[in-house]
Symmetry: C2
Subunit: 256 residues, 2 copies
Amino acid sequence: MTQINPIPALKSSMAVATPDCAGCPIRHRAVCAKCEADELAQLEEVKYYRSFEAGQTVIWSGDRMDFVGSIVSGVATLTQTMEDGRRQMVGLLLPSDFVGRPGRSGAAYDVTATTEIVMCCFRKKPFEELVATTPHIAQRLLEMTLDELDAAREWMLVLGRKTAREKIASLLSIVARRSVLADQASLKDGVVFDLPLTREAMADYLGLTLETVSRQVSALRRDGVIQLDGKRKVMVPDMGRLMEEAGDDSDGGFLG
Amino acid sequence: MTQINPIPALKSSMAVATPDCAGCPIRHRAVCAKCEADELAQLEEVKYYRSFEAGQTVIWSGDRMDFVGSIVSGVATLTQTMEDGRRQMVGLLLPSDFVGRPGRSGAAYDVTATTEIVMCCFRKKPFEELVATTPHIAQRLLEMTLDELDAAREWMLVLGRKTAREKIASLLSIVARRSVLADQASLKDGVVFDLPLTREAMADYLGLTLETVSRQVSALRRDGVIQLDGKRKVMVPDMGRLMEEAGDDSDGGFLG
DNA sequence: CGCAGAATTGATACATCTCAAGCTGGGTGG
DNA sequence: CCACCCAGCTTGAGATGTATCAATTCTGCG
C-alpha cells in the first residue's frame, strides 16, 4: 500500500530532494539538532527519505514499525480510535517533529499525512543503537519528548476545561505560534498561516463535532478575531486578541 | 512554608526511614532503576528525603525549582489552573513517578500532595550533570518520559471523547491497574484498592464537575460495577466489566 | 457544466453544568 | 458522653452548551 521512495519524487521542493543533512531545513530543530559532523555521518548511514500523499496513512496503530523518523515538510496527525469509531487526535506533527518510539515494536497510534509530507526515516534497530551510544541524540530526544509531554498536558487543559470557542482559538493560536517559529509565516502587524486541517480533523483534535467547529470558526470570523482566505489560509490581525479568546494569559510570552 | 526533613519523620513505614537505595521500595521502577552500584553512589551524594502532609503544596507553578525527585510513597497531583479558576489535573503521581523537568528552572504546574508523601529529592544542578554523564539515568528518564507521554495521550482520548460514566470507569481502571502493579492491592477474584482522591480532585482530572462525578460513581455502584467501602476503598468484582464501561477494548492485556 | 467532498446553517435533543438543599461521618469541645 | 460542626458528599430541578439529524450551499476539479 504505502510505497517506498528511498529518494523521494518531489513535485516542487528541491531543497529536500538532495538528502544531505547539511542543507536540511530541519537540521537545527530535529532529533539530530545537537549532532556533530561525525554523528551526522552515522545517522546518514541508516537514513532514507520517504514521502506520503495527502490523506495517506503512514502507519496504522498496532502495525509493526521498522523505522522512526522526522517530518521534513508537511503536516501529519497522530490519532487514536475507539471501537465504536470515536476518534481523538493526540498529536499534530509539524516539520522537525519526531515520529515513533524507540524501544517499542508496534505503533501506538494511527499516523496520517494531512498534506503531502516528506519524512527523514531511520531504520529502527540501528537508530536505537545510536540512541544508546550517542549522548547528543539521546539528549535531544529527551528534550523533544519533554516538550511533547508539555504540549500534551497543555492540550489536556484545552480538552477538559475550555469552551468550544476557546478550543478553536487555542488551536489557531498554537498553529500560529509554530508557524512563526518555522518562519513559514510573517508577523508584520498580523500573522498569516496555513491551517492544513479539515473541519473534521479540527473536531478530532478538539473533542468536538465538525458542526460545532464550523459554527465557532464562523463566529470568530464574524467577530473579527480571524479572517479567512480560501479554505486553508488564516489571518490573525491581533495575536493578543486571539490568545485572550483562547483563555490564555494575555500574551503568553509570544509578543514583546 | 514547606518544611524540609532531610531524614523524614515517618509515622509507620520504617522501610523508607533508612535512606538507603538498596532497600528502597521504588528502587527498580524509579529513575534510578537502571543504575549500577557506583552510579547509585553518585546519586546518593545529591539526594535527600523530604515529606509533605496531605493537602500540602509541593511546588507552585512558576516557582523556582531547585530539586527534582521521585515519589517514594503516597500520591501527588500535577494541576494547571486558568486565571478564572478553572482547573485541570494533568498528571497523577504515584510511587516511583518522577517530579520536575531537568533543564528548566521553574515549575510548569502546581504539584500537590493528596496523601502524605515521601519524596526522594535530588539537587537539580548536580542531577542534571549526572543525566548528562550517566547514560543509565538518561535512558531511564527517557523511558519514563515516553511512558508519561503515552499516559497523557491516553488521557486526551478520555477527556475529548468519553462520556462522564466512561471517564469515571477509565480513572478507576487506571488506578486499579497501577495498584496491582505496585502489589499494593490484591487480585483474587476481584481487585481492591485505595482511591486517594476527593470528588473534586476526580472532577479536575476528568474535566467534569464534582456533582457529575458523584452521580456517576453512585450509578456505577448501583449497577454493581464497583463497591465502595468507606470513602476511599474501592472494590472491583470484575475488572473486565469495568474496562468495558471505560470503553476500552475487552481486557486491554490486563487479564490472561 | 456538473459532480463530490467539504463546509455552513437550522431545528431539536440531550448530557452535563449550575444552583440549591440536605446528608453523612469523624473530630471536637462543652 | 453527646451535641455540634464542618468538609466532603449526595441528590434534585432547571439552565445551557454541544451533539445530533437534516438540508442547503460552497468550492475545487475533471
